[in-house]
Symmetry: C2
Subunit: 343 residues, 2 copies
DNA sequence: TTGGTAGGGTTAAACGTTTAAGTTAATGTT
DNA sequence: AACATTAACTTAAACGTTTAACCCTACCAA
């Protein structure tokens, strides 16, 4: 192996030119003669110098081609959640096309301070649970985009959650239904439970609360008041939380005949539990989801849900960041009627 | 906002001490008096200096706390594959515990050269399709770990794929069976097809070929020779490729009654197709998978497969990298008998 | 001849730290 | 009193680039 890492200086000495010239050979070809440039590149090739050191470049140029993706939860959770991982897919594809690198940043970490100095920007997916982190993001001065939540003056990507929820609920709810809601992160509790009188957490205009508003509005239009007793809180869109909530809903009496779920994962788990108990969907129980994940397509009966394109979100976020877009964008959603409601 | 980013120098000037002292206040508390240190930290707090610039630290210290995870395929694919994303989960959890950051590196990128200077090490998951990339990984001098493939003298994490495949095949195959194999990345083709006489690609002791060896050995013990005509190649462990392969297998005559699949995704898709066609599993068709993903648990009948813990792999890889482990590790696997074979 | 311009370089000052080596004064030791 | 040790700093040289500013020579126009 080489004794020590080669530097611009080594090449410069060997060729009897200044380091600036070598640097220009790599970065600004117009600054030197074609002949000299080729000579330099040939020499680099020969001795195995593979270009200017990136760490030094980052310091000097103040840019690294690294974009941090700040996730609301742990990377572990995000990567296994179909919605989040699809989002990451969109982001990574776009970044890669532009030659950028992706640094995954867990939202349950303490502080972005240890990366802020060397990343080129932030894409923040989902409102951080960690208040300090949210503050830092707002305070820091590099380009940033928020997705599925908002910070004043920071460009963002969202869908119209309130209307999306309203529409799917409107399609599902009939007069005299008993309506329950399986919600996501509505209150500050680490376990699945009914919300009763717990104070709702509503940080950074949480998408969950926008959805809740939509559901409630649709219900009201049918003259239905949804009591807090019929609203469940799940700490995460996770199968085991969903399973438990499903059980509670299906066991309660009177049993609701319409359940509005804030994610497809939750809805699918409920559907599964209901079918296992011999409940007729949709005649005894109507179910709606949210997100439009692939798996929902494979379920029988097909899930009624709101499709949002997480890939598009990811692409939009990356593009907005790279292009310096500063407006807040609202992406479209798509109501998908399946057989888990009566048509 | 601040006019310009604060530096050590600013703090030093304001307090009338040297920059070295400020630096020590952050990095080596034993090098200055307690009082001075507190004074410095207080001043930093007051003026909003949040610690030494990381970009400069990377250059000076030669370490960044960033670990690159080099994936065999695109990030997009990897993040949606249950096996790969579970692996990422294991890696990220471990790295985060140790205060390291995770840079996702797509294996279909050109070169690691643009990150090699500032990352602390590499975890390489799956043999890169890109030959140049594999070379670079081998040549580069930072710590590296390979997972699910091998490079000479580079520590690695693997399972015993040959025996794992042997065992699951042995459990499935009976005398006089017609055995087919749905393999992964066996030949150099972008589409699903039978391998016939195509030359097998066998880079870096590909896990697929180890598995193939295991299957073939188990079949031989039952006096069964598996003709290349009965071996399919899939370019990726993807549902749509799997669906097509499933169709071909189930349509072929004579129809195989035992199909060994190199991933659970493939196996599940086959199972699904078979059931849809009214084929009795396992009496008319026995199926085995590979990996032991969560979804296989939810399938009915339960899939017979080989469980390997991708989380454990990820943790092992991260730990090995961080601890400087230099041996090659073989992790255990676990045969899981389900109802997709006859017991 | 004078002056202007362009091409192809060089010089040296950053970028913001860390750290080995040196200095000084105070404390302890014999 | 002489010397060794230690605590608490400071000095200054890296780390490996990039880039503004400068310098020279050749060429051209008038």
């Amino acid at each position: 192996m080489k004794k020590t890492k080669l530097t611009l200086k080594d090449v410069a000495q060997q060729l009897g030119v200044s380091t600036a010239t070598i640097s220009n050979a790599f970065n600004r070809p117009d600054q030197l003669s074609k002949g000299k440039r080729e000579e330099i590149l040939a020499q680099c090739e020969r001795i195995g110098y593979s270009g200017p050191n990136k760490a030094a470049q980052i310091l000097r140029k103040g840019t690294s081609n690294i974009v941090a993706l700040v996730l609301a939860d742990s990377i572990a959770y995000m990567v296994s959640d179909p919605v989040a991982s699809t989002f990451i897919k969109g982001v990574s594809t776009t970044l890669q096309q532009q030659g950028k690198h992706l640094l995954l940043y867990a939202g349950d970490s303490n502080s972005i301070l240890d990366v802020v100095d060397f990343v080129d920007g932030f894409i923040c997916y989902g409102a951080p649970r960690n208040y300090k982190l949210a503050q830092e993001i707002a305070a820091q001065s590099k380009p940033a985009i928020t997705v599925d939540f908002d910070i004043d003056d920071v460009p963002s990507i969202n869908i119209d959650n309130e209307n999306a929820a309203y529409e799917v609920a409107k399609a599902a709810i009939d007069e005299n239904d008993i309506v329950a809601i399986l919600g996501l992160r509505l209150i500050d509790s680490p376990t699945t439970c009914r919300i009763y009188d717990s104070p709702l957490i509503d940080v950074n205009s949480s998408i969950s609360h926008r959805r809740l508003d939509g559901y409630v509005r649709a219900a009201k239009e049918q003259g239905i008041e949804i009591n807090n007793e019929w609203i469940w809180h799940l700490p995460e869109s996770d199968r085991s939380y969903a399973r438990q909530a499903a059980k509670e809903v299906l066991m309660s009496s009177p049993r609701p005949n319409t359940v509005l779920c804030m994610s497809d994962i939750i809805a699918l788990e409920l559907l599964h539990s209901a079918l296992a108990m011999g409940i007729d969907v949709p005649n005894e129980l109507k179910i709606t989801g949210f997100d439009g994940i692939e798996e929902a397509d494979r379920a029988r009966p097909h899930l009624t849900t709101v499709c949002q394109s997480s890939v598009a979100k990811g692409e939009a976020a990356a593009n907005a960041l790279l292009s310096g877009e500063s407006r807040k964008q609202i992406l479209p959603f798509d109501l998908k009627l399946g057989e888990t409601i009566r048509s």
